[in-house]
Symmetry: C2
Subunit: 249 residues, 2 copies
DNA sequence: CAAGATTAAAGTGTCGACAATCGACGATTA
DNA sequence: TAATCGTCGATTGTCGACACTTTAATCTTG
């Protein structure tokens, strides 16, 4: 028998993907608030609770670290990232930056097909708005924006968006409620799509600025409400390696 | 009197950072071409050769994966990332995107002090140009751009730049020669700084576009020269795996 | 002789264990 | 009393081992 060529509609091999499962479980626990920001994630504890060894737990933690949900402190362990206002601002600032870029690229690559896909996703947004399911609404919102990145056709950029989205999902999850009226959210996507269809870079960036900036302000407001004044975070190390054993600066 | 703990000139505790050391060693091997793109990195082999166990090697590999030098394929191991033209283009495209943004932010935050730091780094670039030390030249070049990101004062953005720089360093290392005249490189930084000092977003982005775009084209040209026509990649970098001909040298 | 089946080797995923290290608590001292 | 130093428990860093999967080599068989 042939090795059976690639199953294209990937059925999610999640059966034997232990670290993936653990990562998902941890992520759930974080966004559901069972692991509050700043709390320590003890490898052995998680391992015992899940009936596995520490190795996969460790790898899962590293995965979540890459996504920004955890921060690692050498010899101290993993901690759930605290959401400072500063982090929120930095994330949204970066998102603004890449979303502008993606918008312009998407406009350049836009085909009738991809245009139709975007339009349909806006319909989905409108439909979802009636469901009173905030999590679903947020998810569909991200899906729209992700489509723009897919059309932009830069995998590196798409990966970055996914990372940012994971962090923002944590933020949203912790806030616990939607940051705006769902119908309003759905509506604000339309001028953005229109700008992309028109293909004028300035209009695109302007609309992205408006759209993302709005979410930024709303989320910032809510986070500021929820954050106790003495909130302090654990610094992310950002230890990046430089080849020629040069100093990191 | 305050306790005054921290000794100011702290000498980097990195002594017992085993995974960091291993990561550096592997990175060296990669950029020096001893581990050619596409080759397999066998955990046990590296571990035996370095006299350590597989665990820290694994972690080091994950670190390098995060930086994009390795790609992981479940149950198959780590491979040195192949540099396709497409990857180069995507990386430079993203770099262009964030470097514009950082430039504008830096201009907004610019102080006489930070301005002076940038100016001094350009001097360093000129001095280094005489040394005939390509690696050093590249390093000082990155340092200049990194300074811009530091001044921009968005840690998330800075981290992203470091990641991209690590990938680009690999590219440069593999190309083996500098992509341009060192003096020319030093000179082209001056109008960029001038634009930042002037603080006009349009001028900044224009100069960034010119500056980065130049490097982009040069690197692209060299990579295209060096790449055999049948170059194929092993996996897309985001954890989603696309099995292809797993050439292991 | 080539294509498929079979077997052997190599290598990753996971495990449990041990030593080194960190943080907290309490004893000691000025 | 307050600060410093040691001690102890908890937790990470690292190790070697084993099972299962993948890859390579060998053997059938038409």
């Amino acid at each position: 028998m042939r090795p059976m060529s690639l199953p294209v509609g990937l059925p999610a091999l999640a059966d034997s993907d232990l670290v993936g499962q653990i990562a998902r479980i941890l992520m759930q626990a974080i966004v559901q608030g069972r692991l509050p920001p700043g709390s320590k994630v003890v490898e052995a504890g998680v391992a015992r609770e899940l009936g596995v060894s520490r190795a996969p737990v460790r790898e899962a933690a590293r995965l979540l670290e890459k996504q920004g949900l955890l921060v690692a402190s050498p010899r101290r362990g993993f901690f759930v990232r605290k959401l400072e206002i500063r982090n929120i601002d930095e994330i949204y600032d970066l998102r603004l930056c890449i979303e502008r870029h993606a918008g312009v690229l998407a406009a350049r690559n836009l085909t009738p097909q991809s245009r139709e896909v975007l339009r349909r996703q806006i319909d989905v947004l409108h439909k979802t708005a009636d469901l009173d399911d905030p999590a679903r609404q947020v998810e569909e919102d991200y899906r729209f924006h992700r489509l723009i990145f897919e059309i932009a056709d830069n995998r590196r950029l798409l990966r970055l968006f996914d990372d940012l989205a994971a962090e923002l999902r944590m933020v949203i999850g912790l806030i616990g409620r939607l940051y705006d009226d769902p119908h309003e959210i759905a509506r604000t996507h339309e001028p953005l799509l229109a700008a992309i269809e028109a293909g004028h870079p300035e209009r695109i960036t302007a609309h992205v600025d408006y759209h993302i900036g709005h979410a930024w302000r709303e989320v910032g407001k809510l986070v500021r409400e929820l954050t106790p004044p003495g909130g302090n975070s654990i610094a992310s190390p950002s230890g990046i390696l430089i080849p020629t054993n040069g100093v990191t600066v």
